[in-house]
Structure formats: structure tokens, C-alpha cells
Amino acid sequence: MATMATPLKKNRLNHHWRWFANHLASVLAVLATILVIAPLVAIFIDLVYKGASSLNWNFFTRLPAPVGEPGGGMANAIIGSAVLLGLASLIGIPIGIAAGIYLSEYGRGTRLSNLVRFTADVLNGVPSIVMGIAVYALIVVPTKTFSAMAGGTALGIMMIPTVARTSEEMLLMVPHSIREAALGLGVPTWRSVLSITLKTAMPGVITGCMLAFARVAGETAPLLFTALGNDFWSTRLNQPIEALPLQIYVYALGPYDEWHRLAWAGSLVLIVLIVVSVALVRYVTSRGVLKGAS
């Protein structure tokens, strides 16, 4: 039986260095956190400070004033965004949820669904401007016009992977017992999936859609050469249309202080919309989406 011939001596220098390293690590980690939170806080403060004062009735109801003149609003951009997002949701939500249904209810565990899920995740990482070019080529070129249709399609296609993934996740959480109960009652599968499984997962699915919605609400790049932008009232689907992020982009780069003011205000509106969505999503998912399920 081998014994300890060279017992370990206590190493004083090393001992102090270890405690120093430990404290240094804590300090650096806290510092990193502060440095990360700081820009966020700064952005929010700036948005409120610079944008809130411009949020008046004019802002929400009037068109942009002639170049540089005060008193205009971003009403057409807000309406335009609403139209585009409505279109996008019409395309993205049904297809996305359907894809999620397939992944969860029919293809669970199969190689195909793994591939679909993987591809959806990868697709989420593709720059949105690429999506814009593709839809430009697909719709704008043949129709020879920029249009709300094209913009909405671009945004809608972008929603599909996100909605599919979140829907799948929420559907997976529905306990098996519920599906079995439905089948036991003699309900056809398609009915059970829609009326029972999907219904149970609905709160979570909706919040997933909201997440995707909030994400594309702020997208500018895919609209640059699809919706293009429009200085006037327009809600026609085959004409260019304005959108809030697009308008912010143009105004931010412009030379007029008035434009900059509007850009801040528009950004504040966008951010409020998004923050509310994110907070809601967090709230719903943390409370347990399926409280009524069991």
C-alpha cells in the first residue's frame, strides 16, 4: 500500500493569488453586467427624453409635413405598418402554426421534423435583407411595382419559422392524457388536434405569434425594396406603402431636425409595442401556459 511520501505543504503565495483571482472574477463579472445594461438604459432614457415630447395628436393623425416643416406626423407610417403586419400575419401565422402542428402532432421525433426544426432555426439567422431581395425578385419584378403586397409577403415569410418553432414548443407541452381523452371519445384526429390540443395550447401559441409579430414589426431591411415607402396616404396593396421603421430610417438619415424629432418619437412607439409584447410573453409563459389543461 503506497503512502504519501511527500505530503502537500501549504503554499502561501498561491493561496493569496487564488483569493485575489476569485475576487477579481466577481468584480469583472459585475462590471460586464453593468456595461451591458448601460446601453439599454441609455437607449430607453434617450427614447423617452427625445421622443415623448413629440407624441401628440398630430403625430398619430397627420401626414409628414412638407420637407422640414414642423407639425407633421407619422400617421401614414403607422397605418402602413398596420397594413403590412396584418398581411404578414395572414401569411405567417396560419402556415407557421400548421407547421408547428405537424412537428408536434404528426412528425414528432422523426428525422424530417428534426430537419425542419433545424432549418427553421438556421433560417432565423438569415439576414432579413436577403429575404427582401428574394421577394423583390419574386413579386416586385414581375408586377413591375413596389407594393404593400410584396412587403407583407416578405414579413410574412419571415414569421413562418419563428411561429412554427414556438407553436411546436407550446403544443409539445400539452399533456398526452388530453389527446388520449379526445381519441377515446371517438373524435377524428384532425378535430382533436384543432379543437382540443391546439385550443389547450392557445395562450402559448398566441404569445409565440406575438413574439414573431413584434420581431417583424421592427424590421426595415426587407421593406426597403418591397414596400419602398410612401409619403402619402396609401393602403392599396398594389402600391408602395409606408412603414414605421422605414420612415424612421429615412428621417434618421435626413438633414432636418424636425425629421430627427419624428424619428425618435416613432422609435418610442415601436419600442413600447415591442416591450409590451415581450413582457406579456414572459408573463404568460412564467405563469404556466397550461394551467387549465390538467
Partner: protein, 252 residues
């Protein structure tokens, strides 16, 4: 050489759950002491109080006195120092999967700043020999990862890892419960041999195991130490009826 452990009025909580009530005992040096009792009786918590692992849980609380080799481990020294001098082997083997066998055993040494190749080689070999694993792995020390061994080998690797930092006490929390009978027997043989150099405290579900390896045995029930005596006495002529009930299998 091992040292003795004095425990006086030890109380422990998990949040509001009072898991240990007024434990007082003396664990002799260079002996194996077994702790038995039904699930949830507090024996694991007790052992984790001995090397201050209990407090790593944020809702944990400890009061009372624990002296190891005369040193009050809660007031006279740091947790880091305590854990270096009191080694622990866990229920499920937990070797470091990203490290080789050699690096696993040497990990504790490297933490303490020992870099000399020669010293490390020597200590790694000795620890693996003491853990009865040397012959099986001596050719693959740096080639195989710690997690590529069988369950029994992994546990002996964990024992070697604990021994490498030259502790005075070795705590073993049901070390063989996740292993097959052959590996279990090997571990028990090991404890027999390690006794002469270290003080060993072993928590076990298996009464036969306690009878085989330990000189003293303590019986825990509902957070209290019911009886603490020589193993022989506990198993042949226990003083407390509850001990007798447990031994004879009436519950637990």
C-alpha cells in the same frame, strides 16, 4: 494520518425544514464510521455539514460546532480550506468528462498550485494505487477521458481524485449504491485499506456493508442521532428499540 471529528449540538436547516436536530458525537481517527438510517433521516445532510458542502445551497443554514482535528471548521478557517482537508466521494461518480484520467486525479493539485510535472506524476500514481485503479488505467492515463471508464472504475477514479490532495478525512456518501456488486466489493476492500491512513465516514443504506467495513456505526432517524456505538454492538445488541426495529427490517 487521519484526525478525529468532534460534533457538538449540530443543527441544520433547508429553508424552514429542520433537517438535523442537536447532533453530538465523536468520530475517532483512523477508523471507518458508518452512518445508517432510512431515506431522508438526515445522514447525507450530516455528512455534508462536515465539509461545509451543505451551505452551498442558498437556503441552507447550520448552527453548532464541528471540530476536525481540533479546528473549528465553521469559525476558525475557510470553507475552501476545509474542503481541501476533508475529501468527499459522492453517490453517483462525477469525474470530469472533459479531462483525461491523469488530469482528473491531478485536478485538485493543480487548483492548489502544484505544477511540477514530477510531483504531479508521483501523486497521481500513488493516488490511483491507493484507489486500486492504477493497474487498470496506467497505460491510458492521458489518452482516456475520465468519463469513458465503467461505473465502478469511475467511482475509484473519484476516490483517487479525492485522495490526491492528501485529505485527513474522507467522506463517502453512499459511494457504492450506484454500482454493481463486484465494484461494490472492490470499494469495500478499498475502505478497509484506506482506514489506516485516513478517517473515513461512510453513509450507507446497506447494513451489511456497514457491518463489514466500519468499527463504529451511527443510526439516524428523522434528523436525530438515535444511537452511536461500536458496529458490533449496534448490530447484535442495540440499546434503543428504534435502532433494533431498523436493523431487523421492521421499517426503512
Amino acid at each position: 494520518m487521519g484526525v478525529g471529528i468532534e460534533v457538538n449540538g449540530l443543527n441544520a436547516w433547508y429553508g424552514t425544514n429542520h433537517t438535523l436536530l442537536d447532533i453530538t458525537l465523536h468520530i475517532p481517527a483512523n477508523e471507518a464510521t458508518a452512518l445508517i438510517g432510512p431515506s431522508g433521516c438526515g445522514k447525507s445532510t450530516f455528512v455534508r455539514c462536515l465539509n461545509r458542502m451543505h451551505e452551498t445551497n442558498p437556503i441552507a443554514k447550520v448552527t453548532g460546532e464541528v471540530k476536525v482535528g481540533g479546528v473549528d471548521i465553521y469559525n476558525d478557517t475557510t470553507a475552501v480550506e476545509v474542503r481541501r482537508r476533508i475529501g468527499m466521494v459522492f453517490q453517483r461518480p462525477n469525474p470530469f468528462p472533459t479531462m483525461s484520467i491523469y488530469d482528473n486525479v491531478a485536478s485538485g493539485l493543480k487548483l492548489n498550485g502544484y505544477r511540477n510535472r514530477r510531483v504531479l506524476d508521483e501523486v497521481v500514481q500513488r493516488s490511483l494505487q491507493n484507489a486500486a485503479l492504477w493497474d487498470e488505467v496506467k497505460d491510458d492515463l492521458k489518452k482516456k477521458s475520465g468519463a469513458s471508464l465503467s461505473g465502478g472504475q469511475q467511482q475509484r477514479l473519484c476516490i483517487a481524485r479525492a485522495l490526491a490532495v492528501d485529505p485527513e478525512v474522507l467522506l463517502m456518501d453512499e459511494p457504492a449504491s450506484a454500482l454493481d456488486p463486484v465494484s461494490t466489493a472492490k470499494i469495500e476492500d478499498l475502505i478497509f485499506q484506506l482506514k489506516s491512513q485516513y478517517t473515513i465516514v461512510i453513509v450507507t443504506h446497506n447494513m451489511q456493508q456497514a457491518a463489514r467495513v466500519a468499527e463504529r456505526t451511527g443510526f439516524f432517524l428523522n434528523g436525530r442521532l438515535i444511537e452511536f456505538d461500536s458496529t458490533h454492538k449496534i448490530f447484535t445488541n442495540p440499546s434503543d428499540k428504534r435502532t433494533e426495529d431498523y436493523i431487523t427490517g421492521r421499517f426503512g
